[in-house]
Symmetry: C2
Subunit: 346 residues, 2 copies
């Protein structure tokens, strides 16, 4: 039976009758080591089955090449696209990702942030939970100047950067589009206005109404978690209204609740978009499957993840001081589909 001890640089050193220091330098391609010994070291490492011990190295070098990623939920189309983009970018630069989810609870967010700090991630990428109210739990990072990048669900902070889309503008455009289609009574299915994404979408919606001289009614702002069930519930709510009081359009802050609201209304005999027009947000795969296809706002999660990670890593490497800016705003596009095109009866 083979000994179960790790193969270390000392084993390589002994094997080649050189010092461990030289081995260490050789493995790190330090040019101070002669080409020849570097080659011999590499060969010996392979032969002995050496695998570097990352955290012994981290302990000395104070850098882990690991980034922490903290998100509300892992299982949404948008978030998994973001993660895919992040992983790809991180991998390209030799970084790894530790990923955790807060499950929309500030308390979990704090616990996970602490763990990541204890694992000494080189940087943190975070999208805030539904009910996070302060950034106190990130103080350890701020205090030790570990860079924090906020994305999507952000919170302003002096020494951090945010990667976002212009939610206000996108919502303004969606709402204006619905108004241009002749809609006058536009309901908004929104999320918790504590989060910028939902507050900004709501604000954009309201401003568009205002700019078109349309009144806003508090009862048309239906706040929920924007789940499938919430979409269905919103439909019931609409069905419960007297016919004359019903909205003639719905702008939902995500596609899921838009689609489930549509399906329930269709089942109740409504014709979309003629009886009621629809627009969502996210360009989720279901938006291209529902009939009629859902008008929505498209923005790339992969790009958001890529940009967030690249900025973080550039900052870490000192390549650029992009943290001198406060936020990066990515492009978001209104995608007009049949669900909001009045008179285009199919």
């Amino acid at each position: 039976m083979a000994e179960n001890r790790e193969v270390t640089i000392y084993d390589i050193a002994k094997h080649l009758n050189i010092s461990a220091a030289t081995v260490s330098r050789g493995l790190n391609n330090n040019p101070a080591v002669s080409k020849n010994t570097r080659k011999r070291i590499a060969e010996a490492a392979l032969k002995l089955g050496y695998q570097s011990n990352t955290f012994a190295s981290s302990l000395r070098s104070k850098s882990t090449h690991t980034l922490g990623v903290l998100v509300p939920r892992l299982n949404s189309h948008f978030m998994s696209s973001v993660l895919a983009g992040m992983e790809k970018a991180a991998n390209k630069h030799g970084y790894n990702l530790i990923i955790a989810q807060s499950l929309e609870e500030a308390q979990n967010e704090k616990l996970n942030a602490d763990t990541m700090f204890n694992k000494r991630v080189d940087g943190l990428l975070i999208s805030l939970s539904y009910d996070t109210r302060t950034l106190d739990h990130l103080e350890p990072f701020f205090k030790r100047n570990i860079p924090v990048v906020f994305f999507d669900r952000v919170h302003p902070h002096a020494s951090s950067i945010s990667v976002v889309i212009n939610n206000y503008d996108a919502a303004y455009k969606v709402t204006s589009h619905l108004i241009e289609q002749g809609c006058r009574r536009i309901m908004h299915l929104g999320g918790n206005v504590l989060r910028n994404v939902y507050k900004d979408r709501f604000d954009g919606y309201r401003q568009a109404l205002k700019d078109h001289d349309l009144p806003f009614q508090e009862k048309w702002h239906w706040v929920s978690a924007l789940s499938e069930e919430d979409g269905t519930a919103a439909a019931s709510h609409i069905l419960d209204m007297p016919a004359s009081k019903r909205p003639d359009a719905v702008f939902s802050a995500n596609d899921t609740s838009a689609v489930y609201c549509m399906m329930a209304l269709k089942a109740a005999g409504f014709h979309i978009p003629d009886d009621i027009a629809f627009a969502g947000f996210n360009n989720d795969p279901i938006s291209k499957v529902i009939e009629p296809n859902l008008t929505t706002v498209d923005y790339s999660g992969e790009t958001m993840g890529d940009i967030a990670v690249n900025n973080l890593i550039n900052h870490l490497k000192g390549v650029s001081n992009l943290f001198s800016t406060n936020s990066i705003t990515l492009r978001a596009n209104l995608i007009i589909r049949a669900s909001s095109l009045k008179g285009s009866r199919q």
Copy 2:
């Protein structure tokens, strides 16, 4: 300006006039330390802003409380559900996840496996890439007895465990169901048969045909990556056939390509299920949105992730030796919806 040095257990020790060893024990809730000193240590730690350094600890204790997760792609509905289940289970036991994607390439899989080994993950959870042919790249893990759990896309290995569903059985049931609906010419949209999930689904399909005395034709086995585009292409392929040669049912190995195939055929004037019936696999959100709703196979990614992690952690903790078994098969259910119910014209 504060010194930028870490707060260590030595600082706490000095502060309390006790030894670092005691502090270490106290922080780890070692019962050998008196309740009182444990309390004083905790207070001092808080006061001094101490944050434990995980990898200094790992270096000594030879355990990282970190699990590696290696998947083909992060951004699919199924995979993100699995990850959500894994993260939840891991977090509950105080473990963290390092997540990487192979992007369906064996080469990336190897690189990522090496990195994870170097980061000394306590265990590895892996779903194989599209073209992985051997497990050579996992040898470092096997050699050092670091447990490996395969899930979904697995490969038999003596000292590892697999968490799967019975793909063969599910596909057999789907196909039998289509046959019972009167379908006789059933096409199969499949994936690379190098992977168990696609091979088993294909085998189950073929066996069902055989058991019902239906001939199998090689041209009805359409292999692709099962993307949206592949689904659309399959539809073109069907449309290119002479009407009399066309299949009367399609069983796709995932919902995405089933749905896109359906949409293209619907656009071409086909009525589903009367002209051609459909069944998919995965119970993806789009399967409940397409009209008619798609018959599919439902199995919980979250459960698969949960089971995989729990087994791994139990094994690590020595709580159970579940690795004595070779594989765990989770429930998968045939969900019959309108897309395969002939004669149920709506």
